[in-house]
């Protein structure tokens, strides 16, 4: 499933920017960053196994809604694949 969660971390090796998820959860995320390397958004879209409960500060998306959310944020985004074990893959491409 696809969820939106906050981005945490400071960008260092021991505290990298990453999705706020329970430790040990397999995930695949989309985190756009600027030229300085820092995320341009405070939240990110993450694909996680369907069995994972949606975190309290997370937001569930259906597949189509997730795609629309990505496209709505940045028309230049070219999202090709999110895939982790136990979750369905999705492939999209920008329409702009």
């Amino acid at each position: 499933m696809f969820i939106e969660v906050p981005i945490i971390g400071t960008g260092t090796q021991r505290d990298p920017y990453r999705p706020k998820l329970p430790q040990g959860v397999a995930y695949s995320s989309y985190i756009p960053t600027g030229k300085d390397g820092h995320p341009v958004l405070t939240k990110c879209l993450v694909c996680v196994p369907d069995a994972l409960p949606v975190p309290a500060d997370g937001k569930f998306f259906a597949k189509e809604e997730a795609v629309l959310s990505i496209k709505g944020r940045d028309a230049s985004i070219d999202v090709t694949k999110f895939k982790v074990p136990g979750a369905a893959a999705v492939e999209v491409i920008r329409g702009a």
Partner: protein, 214 residues
């Protein structure tokens, strides 16, 4: 898909504090050495270590692999490969690395580190002899262990660059906690490229069909 190999380094050569003329260290990062025919960190400084191959720069769709002979899971250690890395000294590029509980894909942009994807993986007993590889095709990134796909993601930050090796040894570790060998890198033959984003998938088909594209 088949990989087209452009360069290999079996690391079989005399001990040296330098990996060799075809390898470049990075300012602000640990460098590697050759010891007992293996790549090992030169120092343990709580810095990420990396070196990139400065010979043939592969096409933008590229891959790199390395065999992890040893990775000590008793301290925070990771090791793996880099693709689309900048030349020294700016640390910018994608990497895939194994650590105690997982394999991850990340990116460095001007030295700022972001984790993009992770999948659980338990490091086997020493010596591990794990083959870790990372493929990047277009904006797709896919990490493998022993040529089995483990995790994939997408990112559009970095379009081209070098391949290389990466590692990290945290406080309490030693420069014997990461040992690498058998580096290889290359690109893909035209007939074996990944199909890319226009291949298939219900949402893509929906997009192509016009139902989601304004």
């Amino acid at each position: 898909m088949a990989r087209n190999t452009l360069f290999t380094d079996n690391t079989i050569r005399a001990d040296n504090s330098d990996l060799g003329a075809v390898w470049d260290p990075y300012t602000g990062a640990d460098s590697g050495r050759i010891h007992s025919n293996l790549i090992k960190p030169n120092a343990v400084t709580n810095l990420a270590g990396q070196e990139t191959y400065n010979g043939t720069i592969p096409a933008n769709d590229q891959w790199a692999s390395v065999k992890i002979r040893t990775i000590n899971p008793s301290v925070y250690v990771n090791a793996g490969v880099a693709v689309r890395h900048s030349a020294p000294s700016t640390i910018t590029g994608y990497l895939a690395a194994v650590q105690f509980h997982d394999i991850f894909i990340g990116k460095n942009i001007a030295g700022v580190f972001t984790l993009l994807a992770s999948a659980s993986y338990t490091v086997p007993a020493n010596p591990q002899n794990i083959d870790v590889s990372l493929e990047v095709v277009g904006t797709g990134l896919e990490a493998f262990i022993d040529l089995v796909s483990k995790v994939s993601t997408t990112d559009a930050s970095i379009a081209s660059g070098r391949t290389g090796v990466v590692w990290y040894v945290d406080t309490g570790g030693t420069n014997e906690d990461v040992m690498l060998t058998d580096f290889a890198m290359g690109d893909f033959s035209a007939s074996s490229n990944k199909a890319g984003p226009l291949s298939s998938g219900p949402i893509l088909k929906s997009l192509v069909g016009g139902s989601l594209v304004s």
